[in-house]
Structures are given as C-alpha cells and as structure tokens.
C-alpha cells in the first residue's frame, strides 16, 4: 500500500478521531463503524465489519467519562479495519495481528488526546486575558484551534499507524504458526469475555437485570444451537 492509498484511510481516521470527543460525537468513531469503513476503503467492508465486531466487544469495556483516560477507538478502528482487509482475512493470524495493532493504536491515540488537551490548555492560558475581557474572536479562535489540532492528530496518527503496521502485520502473518480457526477463536473469545464482564458490571446492578441478562442468554444460546 503506497502513500496515495493510505491517504483516504488517514482522512477517514482524522474524521473518526475528531468525532470521538470534539465534533460531532455521532459515534462514527465506534470501531464497528470505523473499522467497517476502513475495511471498505482497503477493499472489503465485510472483513472490516468482522474486526469491527471484535473491537466493539472490547470497546464495551471503556466509557469516555470526562477527564478520565481512555483508549481512542476512532483512529484505532479505522487502522485495524484497513490493516485487516489489506493483509487478507483468509490468512492465518490476520485477525489477531490486526486486533493487536488496533489496541496498540487505541492506547497511543488515547495518550495523544492527553497531549492535545494539554496543548489546548496552554493555548487557552495564552489567550486568557482576551477571553476574560469577553473577546468573541478569542473564544471562537480557541475552539477552532482545538478542532483543527484534533483533526490533524487523527490524520497523522492513522497515517503513521497504517504505514508502520501494515508491513509489520504482513511479516508477522507470513511466519504465523497457529492454525487459522484457532487463532480467530482465541481473539474473538477473548473479546467476548471482556464484553461479558463489562456488561455484567454495568447492566446488572439494577433490579431484576441479572435475570433479564440470563433470559437473554438462553435466547441467544438457543439461536446459536438452532443455527
């Protein structure tokens, strides 16, 4: 994949990265959306959806509460979807490696958000006098600065992540020693367990919700058995 092919993926990463916190928070940054779109650009939306589902299960474990630190799934989903589709879903190890790449990207991207917030804080301090004097230009300017910096953050991060991860993923998959189905089952099972634990914590604190979860589980397992 050359620079021109990475460019639209980086643009998508920029949009998803911006959506995560700054604008418009419409959740196009969720991995099930970002990875599917990233996969579609790299050649296969269904493959993007597969890794998007795995990452979405993992993302259920995190909540973007205010000032807390959390992984940034926007750029991570796009990167994972693009890498998975480009490597080829049928190759043993492609899914675990792409999920690993996504999780590392999510972690680094989360840290880049902390750095961005500090940068905006420094900018806010430098125009504090103007804002305290009620300058409309300073208020709007600070907002536009933050939005632009976040867009640039997502773009650069996705571009670097895909450019670095793709050759590494290709190399790793070439020497992968576990069977395809077992590799996929491990990573999907792991994501499912993380989602199960998170859901149990968040959704079963209320009255009768534990029983509802178990009722749903019976229906779900019944559907699986019937299929």
């Amino acid at each position: 994949m050359n620079l021109l092919e990475i460019l639209p993926i980086a643009l998508l990463g920029a949009i998803c990265g911006l959506d995560f916190v700054s604008f418009p928070q419409a959740m196009i940054s969720r991995p099930i959306v970002g990875a599917t779109a990233g996969g579609a650009i790299a050649g296969s939306a269904p493959e993007g959806l597969l890794i998007g589902v795995v990452l979405e299960l993992l993302a259920l474990d995190t909540r973007p509460f205010g000032a807390s630190r959390y992984p940034e799934w926007g750029t991570a989903g796009v990167t994972g979807g693009a890498v998975f589709a480009a490597v080829g879903a049928g190759r043993p190890g492609a899914l675990p490696v792409a999920v690993f790449v996504s999780l590392v990207t999510a972690m680094i991207s989360g840290s880049s958000m902390v750095a961005l917030r500090k940068l905006i804080g420094a900018r806010a301090a430098s125009v504090r006098t103007l804002i305290d004097a009620g300058s409309g230009g300073a208020v709007v300017g600070l907002q536009l600065f933050g939005l632009t910096a976040d867009l640039a953050r997502g773009f650069l991060l996705t571009m670097i992540a895909v450019a670095l991860a793709l050759p590494l993923a290709m190399g790793t998959v070439a020497i992968w020693g576990l069977p395809h189905t077992l590799s996929n089952a491990i990573v999907i099972g792991l994501a499912g367990a993380v989602a199960g634990g998170a859901i149990w914590k968040f959704f079963t604190a209320g009255t009768r919700t534990g029983w509802l979860f178990l009722a749903g589980l019976v229906i779900g397992l019944g559907f699986v058995a019937a299929r």
Partner: protein
C-alpha cells in the same frame, strides 16, 4: 427583567455549535470555552451588540470553567443564555452555573455513556449475530444512536431556553429519572442475546470450537466481572494477545 425572543437562525446557530462544544476541552477549564462558544451568537442580542459591555462581560462569564456531559451541556447553554438575555444578576448567574454542572454531568454519564451507547452497540452486535450485512449493521447503529443523541441535545436546548434558571425541575422529570433504569433492563436482555450470537458468527465455523469459545466467553466474563476496577478487561486482552502473537511467531 426583560424577555428577549431568540430568533430562529440564532437558535439554529447555537444548536449547530453545540455539536462542537468539546472542541477546546482542556484540563484547566474543561468545557468552559465551549459553553461560551455556543452561547456567543445569542449573546449578540444583548444591548450594544458585539461591542457592548454586556456582551463582553456575559461572554467572559460563560467561558470560564464548566463541566457537564457534552449532550446535556445544551441545557446549560439554553438556560444560561436566557438568564443573560433577561438581565439576571451576574452573581446569581455564577451560582446557578456552578449548581448546574454536577447534575448535568452525572445524569448524562448514566443516561448516555453507561446506558444508551452500550445499548445501541449491543443492538448492532445482535444484528451482526443474526446475520446482518455490513451496511445494515452500521446503519442500524448510527440511526438508532443518533436518534437518541440528537433528540437529547435538541430537548436540552429547548428546555434550557424556555425555563432559564428554573430548568432544574425539568432535569428531575420522571422520564429522565427512569430512562437509565429502562435502558439497563433492555441492555441486560439484549446483551445476553447479542454476545453469544456475535461471537458464534464471528468465529464462523460452528461446531465444537464455537461451543468451546462461547463457554470460554461465559467463564471469562464471570471472572472479569469480579474485578472491581473498570476498563481493565481491554488491557488484559492486550496483554494476552501480545503473548499469543509472540507464541505464534516463535513456534
């Protein structure tokens, strides 16, 4: 106090700006500048316009430290803008602003981040689990989630503009109080259906390996649910995955 009618175009401008309310989020003033940014178009209606003293003092006041859930910040923007336009005493506005921040944060976090978002996420996973295509799953998630998201922002701005400093009554409405509970119940039921079906379809081969994976999901889920700290699971998953990758390339 005077009642100033906010023209439709200014309401629309405020509404659009609300989607970028977190654009300059930082650790010093959190959402503060975003509130000023969203209120700014309506504050131009104050006597003297953009060059007037009242505009400047109101904008400076609204751009100070503030914290709230980003969607429910619309309530604060509407209510504070109306208070400024009505000429409420600045000291009272400051006190009202401080009092508003806590409830808007906690109500929004429970309603959206711990309720609506995971519910819609599970709906999409369930749609995938029963065989949905990529387009269908993504569209279902985005349409469902944003129906609630946009409705909440629009309701917040409307109620803020109409109630002003009396907006606290609306936040205590039975619908808003009970919604997280209903969402939790629906989420619990949906989770039980969505997780095993999505895992089974993602593995894609059926048979013993799928059954073993679903069994491992249930056991792993119970173990992870017993860990008291939140957001630990994905870090553990990264650790385990690192070991798997290392093992698979070394054997």
């Amino acid at each position: 106090m005077t009642r100033t009618r906010v023209p439709f175009m200014i309401r629309l401008s405020t509404c659009v700006r609300l989607f970028a309310v977190q654009g300059s989020w930082n650790y010093e003033i959190l959402l503060g500048n975003g509130i000023g940014f969203c209120a700014e178009p309506a504050l131009r209606l104050l006597p003297g316009g953009r060059d007037g003293e009242r505009y400047r003092s109101a904008l400076a006041r609204q751009s100070r430290y503030f914290n709230a859930h980003p969607y429910l910040a619309s309530v604060a923007v509407g209510a504070l803008t109306r208070a400024e336009l009505e000429g409420v005493d600045p000291a009272k506005i400051e006190r009202f602003r401080t009092a508003l921040a806590g409830p808007l944060g906690s109500v929004g976090d429970r309603l959206v981040w711990s309720g609506w978002l995971p519910l819609c996420s599970l709906l999409a996973l369930g749609a995938y689990g029963i065989g949905g295509t990529a387009g269908f799953v993504v569209a279902l998630f985005l349409i469902t989630y944003n129906a609630g998201h946009i409705a909440l922002r629009a309701w917040g701005l409307k109620v803020g503009f109409s109630k002003g400093t009396e907006v606290a009554q609306s936040l205590a409405s039975p619908a808003l109080r009970r919604a997280p509970e209903w969402i939790e119940r629906a989420g619990a039921l949906l989770a039980g259906i969505a997780v095993p079906t999505a895992v089974e379809r993602a593995i894609g081969i059926g048979g013993e390996l799928s059954a073993a994976a679903i069994g491992a999901v249930l056991i792993g889920g119970v173990v992870l649910a017993r860990i008291p700290n939140n957001s630990v699971g994905w870090r553990l998953a990264l650790g385990v995955l690192s070991c798997v990758v290392l093992y698979a390339v070394l054997i």
